[in-house]
């Protein structure tokens, strides 16, 4: 398997839904830290692309590597599934259970820390009153928020968001956008399919057009409104330009780079964090099986109330995503629910002391 430092590398990928080639020879390369906005008409293959990247679909022909996992290999796809986060049209919720029961179940199933979900729920505006309601009594938007919170708490290295803005109100959409920006700042890579073109382009570092199960010519990279500039937008056709991206080039063969970039950092800090990262820590993480990683959520959440600009105790960037997501200031648009403390799932959660 060839590692080029790309998080996603699809070449002539064909994926089937039954006997229908939903993806008909798709080429896509995504570098770490990119936010790709996948646009295209209904039935273009956007959702299938996301499912493929989540490891849920096998490749029919062509080749594909996501997070260093070969999509042609069943076992590697299984590993990929654990590391990817998918927000699909389905919400994965048990209608018969309350929101809190759903969250608890999935947090345990995902082996993610319960306390990490709590603050995200807050940020997504799912306050205490809602949490005892059964999932079937929720609105589509509320269901979406819940499954987004569950997805985020998996601390995925790659965020695959299928219409993340759908069914959400303004505040919800803002929350999604700011979460995306922060996630990228801390080392995640995002693929989002959205019909809310203006909004999606605002967070995206690159726009990709899917139609007929393939990528159309990529328009010039859109400069995003965000301050997140983890990597330079890279054109699909020129992977060599990646070499200029320090965070990626510093770590050949390791798609998941260490160190994180704060939303306000410049490319210089990126450089710093990247060079400091191949520490002993890196070796241990590499050597450990995904099983160990998931079974021991040893990271202390919210331990970093200190300024995020200091990636010194080089904890894993994506794993620490949470601490920093939570420590970060909330966007004003979410003041309504951010101001009040809500019933919490677990009380020993230092991350809740948000500034």
């Amino acid at each position: 398997m060839v590692h080029s430092g790309h998080i996603i590398e699809l070449s002539d990928a064909v994926a089937l839904l039954g006997d229908f080639p939903a993806l008909a020879g798709l080429d896509l390369e995504v570098a770490k830290g990119e936010v790709i906005c996948v646009e295209g008409p209904n039935g273009a293959g956007k959702s299938t692309l996301l499912r493929l990247c989540a490891g849920l679909l096998p490749l029919h022909t062509g080749s594909g590597v996501v997070l260093g996992k070969d999509l042609a290999n069943r076992d590697e796809r299984r590993e990929l599934r654990r590391q990817a986060g998918l927000l699909a049209h389905e919400t994965f919720l048990y209608d018969e259970l309350s929101i809190i029961d759903n969250i608890t179940f999935w947090a345990k199933a995902n082996r993610s820390d319960l306390s990490t979900i709590e603050p995200v729920l807050d940020r997504l505006g799912l306050d205490g009153r809602l949490r005892t309601v059964k999932a079937r009594d929720l609105s589509a938007g509320q269901r979406r928020r819940t499954s987004l919170a569950i997805m985020i708490s998996r601390r995925p290295h790659i965020w695959l968001l299928d219409e993340p803005h759908a069914a959400l109100d303004q505040a919800g959409k803002d929350a999604v956008d700011s979460l995306i920006k922060q996630a990228v700042g801390f080392g995640a890579t995002v693929l989002l399919a959205s019909h809310d073109r203006r909004r999606a382009r605002a967070v995206a570092t690159r726009v990709v057009n899917v139609s007929g199960g393939r990528i159309l010519q990529t328009p010039a990279s859109e400069q995003s409104e965000s301050s997140v500039e983890a990597t330079e937008p890279v054109a699909v056709e020129e992977p060599p330009s990646l070499a200029s991206t320090p965070a990626v080039s510093a770590l050949p063969g390791r798609p998941i780079t260490k160190g994180f970039v704060n939303s306000s950092t410049t490319s210089e800090t990126t450089d710093n964090s990247a060079t400091s990262s191949p520490s002993p820590d890196a070796a241990t993480e590499d050597g450990s099986s995904p099983d160990e990683q998931t079974k021991e959520p040893k990271r202390v959440i919210g331990a970093t109330n200190e300024p995020v600009e200091e990636p010194t105790d080089s904890d894993d960037s994506v794993d620490d995503l949470f601490a920093d997501l939570l420590a970060a200031e909330r966007p004003p648009s979410l003041l309504d629910d951010g101001a009040t403390k809500t019933t919490s799932i677990s009380d020993d959660d230092p991350a809740k002391e948000t500034p």
Partner: protein
């Protein structure tokens, strides 16, 4: 029987190009052999061999009834082996072998049940007797009908094949348990089984073995053809997929975007 299996394997994997249909040199030879064997089976079963003392002419059903059930077991056995290999290797070939063998075996199972019932009338006076063999064979028949139904489920082809393979394994193991349970169950009531009291002379035994050979050859011949039909269906699916791929790619330019396909 192992020889036949080896031959099937060889034939399936090296089968040549055919103009139309599913025949080839080997199947032609096998087909002629099958026809000759069936001819002999009919000749001996219905003409040369005589009536039996207790059962009279009805004993002739024995020469098709028992070979049918043995052939059915052979087929289900092949399904078991092919299913195991499929789960290990994941190659389409073994999935198709498993399905083909099961379908033919179900057919022979139906022959067994029918001839069993028809035989029961003159010997027992009833068409259906809660005979252990007849009962467990019926359960096996229904179980494999279920297997064939799973092979036609409305699921992704690969998912369906994998589930069918699991079923192909479990069903065979369960056949063994059903066999014992029904044996014990009827054992309590001391029912007369087929063949008890029956004295087969040399010619009768010969007719029986002839039937066994004939059905095995027929089975092998059918299996090759049935497999090739599945194979053609599979190929047709792939060919349609190629067309669909071209169509799908053509959609790519309809969108308002200016770009050409990269």
């Amino acid at each position: 029987m192992t020889d036949t299996k080896l031959e099937i394997g060889h034939e399936l994997s090296s089968g040549g190009l055919t103009t139309t249909g599913t025949g080839s040199k080997v199947t032609k030879v096998l087909g002629v052999a099958a026809l000759v064997a069936i001819g002999l089976q009919l000749l001996f079963g219905l003409y040369y061999s005589g009536p039996e003392v207790v059962q009279g002419e009805a004993v002739r059903l024995f020469y098709v009834h028992v070979p049918s059930v043995l052939t059915a077991y052979l087929g289900f056995g092949i399904t078991l082996v092919a299913s195991i290999i499929y789960l290990r290797k994941g190659s389409q070939f073994w999935d198709l072998v498993a399905g083909s063998a099961a379908e033919i075996a179900v057919l022979f199972c139906a022959f067994t049940l029918f001839t069993g019932a028809v035989w029961g009338k003159p010997t027992w006076g009833v068409y259906w007797q809660w005979d252990p063999r007849l009962t467990s064979t019926t359960v096996m028949f229904v179980m494999y009908l279920g297997y064939l139904a799973v092979r036609r489920l409305d699921l992704e082809p690969r998912v369906r094949s994998r589930r069918a393979a699991v079923l192909g394994i479990v069903s065979f193991l369960n056949v063994i348990i059903v066999h014992y349970s029904v044996d014990w169950w009827r054992g309590l009531h001391q029912q007369a089984t087929f063949g008890v009291d029956t004295k087969l002379d040399g010619l009768m035994l010969f007719s029986f073995f002839l039937g066994l050979v004939a059905f095995t050859v027929v089975f092998a011949w059918l299996l090759i053809h049935r497999f090739r039909v599945s194979w053609l269906e599979h190929q047709l699916r792939l060919a349609r997929l190629d067309e669909a791929l071209v169509e799908r790619r053509a959609e790519g330019t309809i969108d308002g975007t200016t770009g050409a396909i990269s």
